[in-house]
Structure formats: structure tokens, C-alpha cells
Amino acid sequence: MSDKDTIILGVIGADCHSVGNKILELFFTSEGFKVVNLGVMVSQQEFVDTAIETNAKAILVSSLYGHGEIDCQGLRELCIEKGVDPIILYAGGNLVVGKTPFSVVEEKFKKMGFDRVFPPDVDLKQVANLLRKDIQEKFGQARQKEEERSL
């Protein structure tokens, strides 16, 4: 594979939790992705603009502080509006206010248009594998062509 897949990381809204974000950057870089990390307090606009600029395959949104539900609404719509669809959208962290059964959280965020949703204690290795699989599935055609060219 000649090019690494670009993915975007960031903590959405007014959220300042920076520790997990730094770890995610380290991790996905070590997993072979090209990571564009927007850090904390990232607006939907910033996510989408960066996706356009970098031709990213996925946006991994973090929300830890509880306002995820409010902050993430409309992100998928904005992606569609700006023409970066079908981009992969993942969400992870403490996505809602208060201890909530994960299935409830998952449903909420899937309804909002996220492809996958993860709890804070998710095994990151597994996420990387899913991400590779999802990229393969959604962008496989394009990918294959690229790979053929590079042969």
C-alpha cells in the first residue's frame, strides 16, 4: 500500500479532556494511519473543513465531558452538505451525561449518523481493525485501484 489512510481525531465542542486524545494520536499513528489530530474543543465545521482539506477517510470524534449528545447533532448532515460523504464517522468516550447502558448510547449516536460508537474502555486494537475493515468496505474500490497502480 503506497499511501496511508488519513483519519481525523478531535474532541468535540467545549470539551477540554486532552489525555485520551493524546493517547489516541499515538495509538493510531503506531497502527499505520496518517493521523490529523485537531486536539480538544473542535467544532463540527473544523472537523468537516479538515476532512475536505486532507481527503480523510474517517473522523473519530471524542466526547468525554457529557455534552456529546448536543455537540454531535448535525455532524453527519454537515458532512453530506459539504460533500465529504461517505466519510466514516466514529464516536467514542463518555458520550452522554451520566452512567447509561451502552446500548442506549449506541443507538442514540447511530441514529445521528455515526457508523460506530465506542465506550471509554474499548480495546483500541479492535477499533483499528474495524476501522481498516470499514475503510476497505467503503473505499475498497478506490483503494484497489490505487494498489494496482502501485504494483
Partner: protein, 482 residues
């Protein structure tokens, strides 16, 4: 220009006009009316008085964190913590939009919460409720109550909540910027916090004592004690300059018992030293110990042990206050029940050790001395960089990485230092970045870290840091390889 000098009243009132205009509720704030109300508050409901009493009696007071979007629910919550939780001190934790002065979004959060019938905000949007709303909170409770937030520009929040009758206000120009914000310059936040401190000084001059509490734990993640303490003392000095008299310096549990107990001892000794050096002598100094501020275990049984050990160490340390976590910590804002469980578990642990005298060992003296030496390096250099002016020095120090908070989100922070645990779990510094620590000190840190590397049969690497960050939540203190 920024300077560590008491803001002139004229300048203060000019600034004030602007501040009060930033949101409609600002119009209702009257400092006079606020003072009048404060004078009706009985002693046992005044933060400063209760903290001082704890100091005199050697007591450790318990305080939870708590805040929800809707005012009646918020009152219900605090009453529950007062009664079922037997909290000694109450909080009002502010939501994260208000912290960023995004009152419009907070308003939306209130709306949506009303619709949902549950809080969709992670705290209480005090500014939106204004003096009248906040006053209702204060009047509904019988314990002293503090504003806890994380707001780089807290001027309007302070105006409203103090006038409403809150008797303590957390934060500071460094500790509520660097860990909580991304693009706010240190110069701006120090200036804005000078305003807050000046406001508190104004109340003080009129006989109303408001307690102030710099936020000790910073990012809550592998923060070396010397950094947390140096920053706390600097914020204390800046506050004293504006006329504040009741100061509570904070520290977040690091995990090694000896280091944690030593840190509180060092805070007291160092604060006295620096405060007196600047010729302050009529302040009231107390300390607050925060139970583990990093990632918690998800399992509630395990979380309880983190809480119990934190409470115990708080008591050993001799702090006057402990901020209590709940068994829901890793998962989300706690229910009132979980919050009260955290309080009751803490109380039990504290009571079981309060009569016991465990620490006078040599290890402790050694660690206190080390911390003191380190803090001297940091603060003295900060003074130097400001040519004697601590406010200017602080700005320069962050610019140069002389003060540097690990894992912080702020672009005004270097983020170069690399802390990690030694083999006994003490937080040490592997890469000092630009911290002005002496070679002798760094040799000691490296030596202790080498011991760990040897014990684990691996070279010192960033992996150790990641392992350490996850450690407590995975049920360990030191992040050993598997």
C-alpha cells in the same frame, strides 16, 4: 499592561461595566446588595469560617462535586448530598458551556434539559440563572457552598455567584486555563483572575470574607507535585495581592502514599515561606486533597477502593478538606445516590484512620525536602523571569516552558515534560523539558526511574507513561508490562 499589582478601584469599575454587559443577567448584579446578604449568613454557612475551624480542630471536611442543568433538580441534588451524603461542604459545579462563556449554548442546554426532563448539561449554568436563581440555591441549603468550575474568564460568573451569596470560589489564572482551555493566553487569564480576586478583595474590605481555592490537580494525570504546588502558590500570591485573605491550596492524589502526604506538608511549609516573603501575614491558609483525579476503574467495586484509599491518604496528609469522587466516576456524572455513596465510603475510611498516627518516617522528610527544592527552582525562576513581578514572570515562564503542565490542552503550554512513575509509584520526571530543575534533582529522578526500568526489564520509554496513565483504571498503580 499586566502587572502583579492591586487593581485600582477606578479601573476595576470600568472593567466591571464591560463584564456585566456580556450576558443579560449581568445587569442585576449589585455588590452592595450582595454584601448585605452575606452579612446575614450565619458562621456555619461561611466557607472561610468553616475551613478555619477545621484547621484549628484538625478536622477533615468532605466535599463532593455536583451540578445539574435545572435549578430545582440542582437544589434537590445538593440537599440529598447534605442529608444522605452528610457532606460538610457543598459545591455547585458549573457546566462546560458556561466555563467557556458560551451562555447561548448553555441556554440551549437548559431548554433541552427541560424537554428531556433530565440534565443534558454537565453542570449548573449559574450565569444564565443570574443572581436571583443562584440566591435560591444558596438559601435552600444549610452548609457552606462553593462555586467549582474551570473557567478561564470567570469574571461574570464570580460577580453573579458572589452577589448571590456563595462563600467560596475555586480557580485561578493558571489552573483554570492551562488544563481547561486551548487558546486562551496566560496573560489574559491571569488578568481576568486578578479581576476575580480584586472582587473578592472588595468584599473582604467590606467585611465579607470569601474563600478562594486555586485548582491543585491541573490535568489530574501524572502531575509531579512540584508543579501543582508551585502553580498553587503563585496563584495564592496573586490572589493575596488583590486583597484575598482566605486561601485553600489544592493537591490531587498522585497514588504513592508517602509522596501524597509529603506534598501536603510541603504545600504548607512553602506557602508560609513565600507568603511571608512577600510580607503577607494576615491570611488564613488551608489545604485540600483531591481523591484520584485521573482515569478511574469502570467497575464500581474497584472504584470504591480508589475512593477509600484516597480518603485515607487525605486524612494522613492532614489536609482540611477532601474532594470526593463517586463509584460512577469512570462512566459519567454520578447520580445523587452514587455521589452520596462516595461520601459515605470516604467518611468511613477517614473515621477508621483518623485516630491513627502513621507518618513520621524518614522517607517522608526526604520527599518533603525534595519537593521543596523543586518548588524553589520553579518559583524562584518565575520571579526572575518577571524581574520580580510574579504575574509577568508566570507569563514568561509558560512561554519558556519553565512552568509546564503535562497533557494539558492549552497551546500556551509547552507540553514537553514527561512524567512517569518510579518502581514504588512516586511520580518522577523523566524529561524535564525546560523546567529549571537542578542537575542534582534530575539525577535523583533518573536514578529512581532507572530502578523501575531494571525491575521491569525494559528501557525507559513513552510506553511506560501510557501504561501509567491507564494503570489505576486497570487496577494497578504502576503500569508494569504484562
Amino acid at each position: 499592561m499586566l502587572k502583579n499589582e492591586k487593581i485600582e478601584l477606578k479601573e476595576f469599575f470600568e472593567l466591571r461595566k464591560e463584564v456585566l454587559q456580556t450576558w443579560p443577567t449581568g445587569q442585576d448584579v449589585s455588590i452592595e446588595e450582595g454584601m448585605k446578604f452575606h452579612r446575614t449568613i450565619p458562621e456555619e454557612k461561611r466557607f472561610a469560617w468553616v475551613m478555619k475551624k477545621a484547621l484549628q480542630e484538625g478536622k477533615l471536611l468532605l466535599q463532593p462535586r455536583a451540578g445539574v442543568a435545572l435549578i430545582d433538580d440542582h437544589i434537590k441534588l445538593l440537599r440529598y448530598l447534605e442529608n444522605e451524603g452528610q457532606a460538610d461542604l457543598l459545591p455547585t459545579t458549573i457546566d462546560a458551556y458556561t466555563r467557556q462563556n458560551r451562555y447561548q449554548e448553555a441556554e440551549k442546554g437548559i431548554e433541552k434539559s427541560r424537554q428531556a426532563g433530565t440534565s443534558l448539561l454537565n453542570g449548573f449554568p449559574a450565569v444564565n440563572y443570574g443572581v436571583t436563581g443562584c440566591r435560591r440555591v444558596v438559601e435552600s441549603l444549610s452548609k457552606p457552598i462553593q462555586v467549582r468550575h474551570g473557567t478561564p474568564d470567570a469574571r461574570l460568573l464570580a460577580e453573579i455567584t458572589l452577589a448571590a451569596g456563595f462563600t467560596s470560589f475555586e480557580g485561578g489564572g493558571i489552573s483554570y486555563n492551562i488544563p481547561y482551555a486551548k487558546r486562551v493566553s496566560v496573560e489574559k487569564s491571569i488578568r481576568d483572575w486578578q479581576y476575580v480576586d480584586r472582587l473578592v478583595g472588595l468584599y473582604e474590605e467590606n467585611g465579607v470574607r470569601i474563600n478562594r481555592e486555586p485548582f491543585g490537580p491541573l490535568t489530574g494525570t501524572l502531575v509531579p507535585p512540584c508543579l501543582s504546588i508551585a502553580i498553587g502558590i503563585i496563584e495564592g500570591l496573586l490572589a493575596l495581592k488583590q486583597g484575598v485573605k482566605s486561601i485553600t491550596l489544592g493537591y490531587g492524589q498522585g497514588g504513592n502514599i508517602i509522596q501524597d502526604v509529603a506534598a501536603i506538608a510541603a504545600i504548607n511549609q512553602l506557602a508560609e515561606e513565600y507568603f511571608r516573603q512577600e510580607e503577607f501575614d494576615d491570611y488564613e491558609l488551608t489545604t485540600v486533597f483531591h481523591q484520584w483525579m485521573g482515569g478511574f476503574p469502570e467497575d464500581e467495586a474497584k472504584a470504591f477502593s480508589v475512593i477509600a484509599l484516597g480518603a485515607m491518604v487525605a486524612k494522613f496528609s492532614g489536609a482540611e478538606k477532601v474532594i470526593v469522587k463517586s463509584p460512577h466516576e469512570a462512566m459519567g456524572i454520578p447520580t445523587k445516590e452514587a455521589n452520596a455513596q462516595g461520601l459515605r465510603a470516604s467518611r468511613q475510611a477517614i473515621n477508621m484512620v483518623e485516630d491513627q498516627v502513621i507518618f513520621d518516617s524518614e522517607d517522608l522528610a526526604e520527599e518533603v525536602e525534595l519537593i521543596k527544592k523543586e518548588v524553589h527552582c520553579l518559583i524562584d525562576k518565575t520571579y526572575e523571569m518577571g524581574a520580580g513581578d510574579l504575574a509577568l514572570g508566570t507569563v514568561a515562564a509558560f512561554e519558556a516552558g519553565v512552568l509546564d503542565v503535562p497533557f494539558a490542552p492549552s497551546i500556551y503550554n509547552h507540553g514537553k515534560i514527561i512524567p512517569m512513575r518510579d518502581t514504588e509509584g512516586f511520580i518522577r520526571i523523566f524529561n524535564k523539558g525546560n523546567l529549571p530543575l537542578t542537575e542534582e534533582i534530575m539525577n535523583y529522578h533518573h536514578q529512581r526511574l532507572m530502578e523501575r526500568a531494571r525491575a521491569e526489564g525494559r528501557v525507559i520509554s513513552f510506553e511506560m507513561v501510557t501504561d501509567d496513565i491507564y494503570a489505576i483504571s486497570k487496577g494497578k498503580l504502576v503500569g508494569r508490562p504484562k
